[in-house]
């Protein structure tokens, strides 16, 4: 019976958590995708080597490459999993977490019940009742 209960709990946790994790996997916005594609297409080509016209001409001073100014982000960052692997790992972790919580609470409840029983039975309290004399007379063997 307990085994069936645990199976039902596992199935329930999986059912509850699967839409949650799916909801958390927010795909990156189309605007963000477009900006990445644009950035890739605008990647500067490798600088071409400029050949001097004549050997006698003075060498041109080395042109420093312009300092790349990072573009200011304009989109809102929406939290998302980095991939299916991460999503699955988190999904498995959450199922394990809730399962552990359920199992731990089950055992903790047993422990609490036992602790309460022991306390109410005054198990650890010193016995204060007056000791009676042993009614049995000593035997020859004593």
């Amino acid at each position: 019976m307990r085994g069936i209960r645990i199976v039902i709990l596992v199935a329930f946790a999986a059912l509850v958590l699967s839409p949650l994790t799916a909801a958390a996997q927010v795909p990156s916005s189309p605007a963000a995708k477009a900006s990445i594609e644009k950035e890739l297409s605008q990647t500067p080509a490798a600088p071409q080597e400029v050949k001097p016209e004549t050997q006698s001409a003075a060498p041109a001073p080395a042109v420093k490459p312009a300092k790349k100014v990072p573009e200011k982000r304009t989109e809102t960052i929406v939290p998302a999993f980095s991939g299916i692997k991460e999503r699955t790992a988190v999904f498995v972790f959450y199922v394990w977490l809730w399962l552990s919580i359920v199992v731990l609470i089950y055992f903790l409840r047993l422990w609490v019940k036992e602790s309460d029983r022991v306390y109410h039975a005054k198990y650890y309290e010193p016995d204060e009742s007056p000791r009676k004399a042993n009614p049995m007379p000593p035997t020859l063997g004593d």
Partner: protein, 356 residues
Amino acid sequence: MKIDMKKVGAWFDDRLALTPIFKYMTKKEVPQHEHSIWYYTGSSILLFLAIQIVTGIMLALYYKPTLEGANDSVGRIMTDLPLGWLVRSIHSWSATFMIAFVLTHLLAIWFTKSYRKPREATWMTGMMLLVVSMVFGFTGYLLPWDDLSLSATKVGTNIPNAIPVVGKWVTQFLRGGDDVTGDTLTRFFLFHVCILPLVIFAILAVHILLVQKEGMSVPLEAEVKKKKVPALPFWPNFILREVMIWLVLLGTLLTVALVFAPTLGPSADMMAPAPAGVKPEWYFLFLFQTLKIFPGNMGPVTGEFVAVVLILVAIVAIFFLPFIDTKPEGKKGRIINYLGVLGLIYAIVFSIWSLL
């Protein structure tokens, strides 16, 4: 080499005096009655504080408290680091849970009148912890440095300006100048990760010490009628029940953080006008709405000044509540209860109004 664990234990016991603490824990008792459930709110606050410390350290490893780096570093935490967005979400949500539990704890103590003699100092340190928790939230709100956090901080740091004489100085001190700039960000970061943790630990230590010294309060009616309230040992009976509640709260927090992870707006533009619908964190909403309903001028003073003074008077009155409500079992005590209900309704209604 075999290590004698008994000797190791004795070595620590000699130096840290652990035996008296363990003896105290086993002898300590917690009253059991119909309001016992409220005892668990205190320890739950400690759980959320611990989670905030752990996640806060993780975030601080990558956060850059500079004008150029703040928003980008939070963006990097959310996109480049594995599950960085989840860590940030847990940090943010645990703050929300913590303040919700601090408020619940405070209301429970208010209505059960647990602040009565000899627990006045416990109440006052608790109030200090509430204020520090809210300042934690306020300073942390600016750190992502997006438009919303900048505007909310501008509004928040402008409030002390309404106080005559010292108001302008307080605002300048909070901002590190006349306006919210990179200096404010550095200052808030310093407060958030260095000064406030020291303050909260100091007050918390005193609060816990006082709770241990005076013990848990029993219901007022039981004290008045001098009835004996049944009790349970703290260890293991009470602590095991606490652990069960912590587990449920931990699971709930992690699930909420996963589903409702906060987003991050673009880096704040200091020259841009405030975006529409600027709102502070939920626990400041009723104060925000209170400031909004007051007219610009009220005779010789500004409406904002009147609102700030009223709020300050209310905070001071709540702080000294144990000295106002000296006879909690009498008529005065009942009036204080009604005032508590009124205050709660006011906070809820004004918060909802602010969101509309």
